[in-house]
Symmetry: C2
Subunit: 594 residues, 2 copies
């Protein structure tokens, strides 16, 4: 039962009886009041038409020179983005517009009042605008009026509501975690907040509520969820924001399988509720398989072109480049045997670009007439090329593309080539979704720069029980109960089963190069918590900005955030960050050192 | 239609088939698995009983020495807060417990596994605990296990869900506003965040999303809502938190009446949905009336004792104290004529305390026998005392309490005396709610210290249209379209109709002592926004922590926040804030100045 007191006393009708998206044939004859923005006007001599716009839609106003000349003259003075209130009668249009919800009707205006006059906006407020990126960010409040951006924000709202409704219905509790917390070992990425009341001390803004959600499991809250802002002071890459939003969740008394099922359910629910799309069941793939077959831990499964390992087949035939390579990889490009010399040269340029970094590209055409032709025919005869066809599945009309080099770099280069080919051949259809769980990530990887092991996920991730033995002698071989959710090649989120045993947690901290003093100071509260009855638990965090962008069909997250920052972390509208006054610095016991 | 994929693949039953709150008579005979915490155990020789606890409830386990001695011996070793998994059969209890949901059944345990052993907690995890405030804050994760605190957090969850469901159903959009923003003129209360990428510059954390929600109205989002963290670096008073949560809302094309109706509806909805309580319609009272009748802008209407102005009646009768006072106020205390000399002396001490600051207390008893007796009978005869009775409504058995002094201070002192009397006489019943809108606040008040006008609400509040003329010559007489929601003497929130006219906004900034340079630098983006078609708009912010505490029946907000800070803004569990490393300071181009 939904409880509705609204409008019990007074209907909201001083400014409007209806919004601009709801009047239909059944309202014809009604006297209505509308308040909204002037989208545009057309003066056809005897008649003046105005499109009135609000968030809900567009309604056509009509002013008649014959029946009310003074009012019509007033209407002609209206400019784009003026805010007006009109009263009038709903009438049937002679010329109906099937593209808008109110296209059957128009308003014969009886009175018109300008609520706020607008200057000419610095760019056109239409679906396609003439405003540059910077100008639109400075006047973000105007850019947000454009339908494509507005629709993104509305989609985000819907996703948030559907998300909480689903999680709440399966016993998750929304619990707010603090924003003013303690700086952690990965502290270099923390934004810090000087404390005035605690001189010389700083809070940190959370990179994620990780330890808090684990503590909530220790507290017995069983299932926790929050759609929450997180902060990371990174050198900003394209499409990263210093503040971003996570769907953050944790569950107690679960194994990995339980979490995968709950959150596969969540994302299916979101797609169904918000987009009406039935997602297929999520595929499962180990990290190792993903790297081997796609050269990426977030493969795009909307098209095939899995890697074929051709090392054995192609080495020792006299071609030095392959003979010296650690690995030779090939992908079958279906129906691309007709690629021209020029196209292949361009591909070669692409793989040699700094971004991809391969030395060169080998190809073999499997022509429609049954012949084969490769760029290394000098070393490989027809029968060998046919063997390649059998191994890679290349048939008449296909193209085989081959890269070679180190086993570390070559899969990455091949991944980029694979994505490039999908793009060039337009293999990716709109509104196709291929969701995937990548599982069995390694626990740690060795970082040559800092000469120590780093957590792949984070220091709280549980090693697989059968691998715990290996932690002492070969940590690189230890797999973790960690998983990523990937849709269409986009990493939507990731999580893990956590450590809930104090001794294993200490062991992992030590593996990561922390000594007892350090981890006690930084994470003493968590180790303490594990002393007093910590349940087995695990969780996940989904990138909310990213998920919304994926659902909205965009690659960039920026227009799914109401007030985003630019690549320097600046808010161009506010002109922030900015200098603060000396008195503020003094109060914080700080001095600038620049 | 609700969409449910959960458990489609694998039921979550490795750790448990049921939680500790759901097994009932209909489950008798079922084989179940439970995982949870040991609340306590009772060893009755042949039988050992264990209360197993999770968030959902408590289930009794039984171990039988006769049928399975080894298992029973294992069970006897279990300590409080151990985490265990048990498998067993549900059977009917011989001795039923009507106080818990699972009181009809118990589990005959077949197998027992300790998932995590617990050390003895530093305080008892029961409804009543032996832990002191500081200890419980340090081990907050354990304090959160106690049912009273856990229930608060669950209540908060429910209020949040019900709030968004309601607002969403009436077309509010949840839109996230940024946390890294620009420092504002009330900058002294801003927490600031140094920017590494923008050397020497700082973000501020928002004290509220005020300007953003106004921009969203300018953008045409029409109705905005967010349950959002806000930050204020104040010297902390009892029960203030440096980070707190608001239900933050804004609406376009509305008048004050519209907003009052929508949010009266919201709060009624929340009480009904979460507590099953039907709130009465909200009273309305002007600020002036509230001060005159109750000496407070947040009067508690659960009991009467409105002020009577006795100045005219009591002056010029030879009693110098009253003759020299600016105002003489009295309250009728029903049925208190039997107060003893000692009780009245204590009341006199109370009003003379530093907190109240009155010079003394005058009383008059209207005795049951029809006689009257006051503490100033020397100056006032029986007939005069009877006149007091008529004015104040005092009847046989009542007590009249009178304070006098300056017109600024006396109502405040009388307010405290009024609340004190309600407390002493236990006039306040549980679960009675008296909601109220206080309206027509003044726009500004003069501050003697800074020698300038300060905004009562904030600088964006619209003056009442009929008072705009007065802004030039008598700003103190200008009323604002501002309102507070008060329930049971607690200010739950407040809001206003905002200025949407650039010229009026500039006028208010100037009235508040800002020059053009200053307000352009700080609020140029808002003034800009008002140029391009800003609609009339207004909104409200409700204190979410405070609302939850009120609904939970507590005066303090602290136990409605999962991880609160103490009065010095410290998180005792994390030991934050803390010092950060020099390398971090260097990166931020900062030096400590202490």
């Amino acid at each position: 039962m939904f409880y509705m007191y609204i409008c019990s006393k007074t209907k909201i009708d001083m400014y409007r009886t209806h919004n601009c998206g709801e009047l239909k044939m059944e309202n014809v004859g009604d006297k209505v009041t509308l308040s909204a923005w002037v989208q545009k006007s057309r003066d056809l001599g005897g008649l003046t038409f105005i499109d009135l716009r609000d968030r809900f839609g567009i309604t056509q106003l009509v002013f008649n020179m014959d029946t009310n000349a003074p009012l019509c003259l007033e209407a002609r003075k209206l400019g784009r983005e003026d805010v007006v209130r009109v009263k009038g009668n709903v009438s049937e249009r002679s010329n109906k517009n099937k593209n808008i919800s109110t296209g059957d009707i128009e308003i014969e205006v009886l009175s018109l009042e300008v609520l706020n006059k607008a200057e000419t906006p610095p760019f056109t407020i239409e679906n396609e605008t003439d405003g540059g990126e910077e100008l639109r960010m400075k006047y973000r409040f105007l850019d947000l009026r454009r339908a494509p951006i507005r629709d993104n924000i509305v989609l985000r709202h819907k996703v948030a509501q559907a998300c909480r409704t689903y999680l709440s219905s399966v016993d998750f509790l929304e619990i707010e975690t603090p924003f003013l917390i303690k700086s952690t070992p990965e502290g270099a990425r923390d934004f810090v907040v000087p404390s005035r009341l605690n001189e010389g001390q700083f809070y940190a803004l959370p990179q994620s509520p990780q330890t808090f959600k684990q503590l909530l499991m220790v507290s017995g809250f069983d299932r926790y969820m929050q759609i929450v802002k997180c902060f990371r002071d990174e050198d900003l890459r394209a499409d990263r924001q210093p503040e971003f939003t996570q769907i953050d969740c944790e569950m107690a008394f679960v194994e990995q399988e339980d979490i995968l099922n709950v959150f596969e359910g969540l994302v299916k629910h979101l797609f169904k509720m918000v987009k009406g799309v039935d997602l297929p069941d999520f595929e499962r793939m180990t990290y190792k398989e993903a790297i081997t077959k796609y050269g990426s831990d977030k493969p795009d499964l909307r098209f095939d072109m899995r890697f074929n390992d051709l090392t054995e087949l192609m080495q020792n035939k006299g071609f030095k480049v392959f003979d010296e390579a650690e690995v030779v990889l090939g992908i079958r490009v279906e129906g691309a045997s007709n690629f021209t010399r020029k196209q292949l040269d361009k591909l070669t340029d692409f793989v040699r670009s700094q971004q991809v970094g391969a030395k060169g590209l080998v190809y073999c055409k499997f022509n429609e007439d049954g012949t084969t032709k490769s760029s290394i025919d000098k070393f490989y005869d027809e029968s060998q090329r046919e063997a390649w066809g059998i191994t890679t599945g290349c048939k008449k009309g296909d193209l085989l593309l081959v890269l070679s080099g180190t086993s570390k770099h070559t899969p990455k280069a091949m991944n980029m080539l694979r994505l490039e080919m999908a793009d060039r051949l337009q293999l990716i259809q709109d509104d196709v979704y291929k969701p995937l769980w990548v599982v069995d990530f390694p626990l740690v990887e060795y970082d040559d720069d800092s000469q120590r092991w780093h957590a792949i996920h984070h220091p709280f991730t549980a090693p697989k029980e059968e691998d715990i033995q290996k932690m002492d002698h070969s940590p690189g071989e230890v797999n973790a109960n960690a998983y990523d959710m990937v849709i269409n090649g986009v990493e939507i989120g990731g999580g893990s089963i956590r450590i809930h045993d104090r001794l294993i947690q200490e062991k992992v901290f030590e593996l990561l190069g922390m000594d007892k003093l350090e981890y006690t100071e930084k994470f003493g509260f968590l180790l303490d918590a594990f002393k007093y009855g910590a349940p087995p638990h695990g969780g996940i965090a989904l990138g909310f900005d990213r998920l919304c962008a994926l659902m909205g069909g965009d690659a960039s997250i920026r227009d799914y955030i109401a007030f985003p920052k630019n690549n320097m972390g600046r808010d161009l509208m506010l002109d922030a960050p900015s200098v603060i006054e000396k008195v503020q610095l003094d109060e914080l016991s700080l001095k600038l050192n620049c």
